[in-house]
């Protein structure tokens, strides 16, 4: 049953990820954004299958909620028309697909032949309690630094989006 769900979510993730990158029907950025939301939600399903419940919730809240709303706001703010079908240089397409395909083949071959998962059984329960305990004891300093980073990002964004950028 779990395996079935894995194949379902994995297929959904990869299909929607492909449609983000290369949708054969439309080049509209809004369509890409919607498929990115679907990718992120099915990836949250994979996180649940890995018993990382807290991260699945955070993934949906932060990515599908906040980040994608930001993307859609910017797309609408810029009023991007459907990307005109510019002539893509076929040389660029061939070399790009070739190099990325080589990278994919190399990684997949390494994963399958290394036997990295042999003898490993899934053990950990991504209990939210123990995760929080780690965050507030062992990782307290990085946690605080990240909150400062968020503040810096906020101030930077306000400065950048002022009308008269100096």
């Amino acid at each position: 049953m779990q395996d079935l769900f894995f194949y379902l979510f994995a297929a959904l993730t990869l299909l929607c990820g492909f449609l983000v990158v290369a949708n054969p029907f439309t080049r509209n950025p809004v369509t890409s954004a919607m498929f990115l939301v679907l990718t992120i939600i099915s990836m949250a399903g994979l996180f649940v299958l890995l018993h990382a419940f807290f991260l699945a919730a955070v993934q949906i809240l932060v990515y599908a909620g906040a980040v994608m709303v930001l993307f859609l706001f910017v797309i609408m703010l810029l009023d991007l028309k459907e990307e005109a079908r510019r002539h893509l240089k076929s040389f660029a397409v061939v070399t790009g697909v070739l190099s990325v395909g080589a990278l994919a083949a190399l990684t997949l071959k390494t994963i399958w032949t290394s036997g990295v998962g042999q003898g490993l059984t899934p053990q950990i329960e991504g209990a939210t309690g123990s995760l929080g305990k780690m965050l507030f004891t062992q990782y307290l300093l990085p946690f605080e630094i990240v909150s400062v980073l968020l503040l810096v990002a906020m101030v930077g964004v306000i400065l950048l989006s002022k009308k008269d950028l100096k």
Partner: protein, 104 residues
Amino acid sequence: MSLTPVGLEHYLAVSAVLFCLGALGVILRRNLIVMYMSLELMLNAANLTLVAFSRYNNDLNGQVMVFFIITVAAAEVSVGLALIVALYRKRQTAHVEDLTSMKL
């Protein structure tokens, strides 16, 4: 792929393919915003790898790492999109082929 019992390799394979899809998007698409979305796809693939290793190696540190990655990615998206908006105000385009000179 036959329906073998799902192990660590399966999750890693999904993550590798997703990472390559993101890289393909960055290389092939010419719209700045779609390229940015492809970058998010690559970050998510890395997150999936970390969570899978964390579960199979019985180590919660991976999940804490993913938590931090998600936070930093959110900050990075906001700054990047603000940059794109500022660039669009100056040049009226979000197409990388129109943005070849460094002078604004």
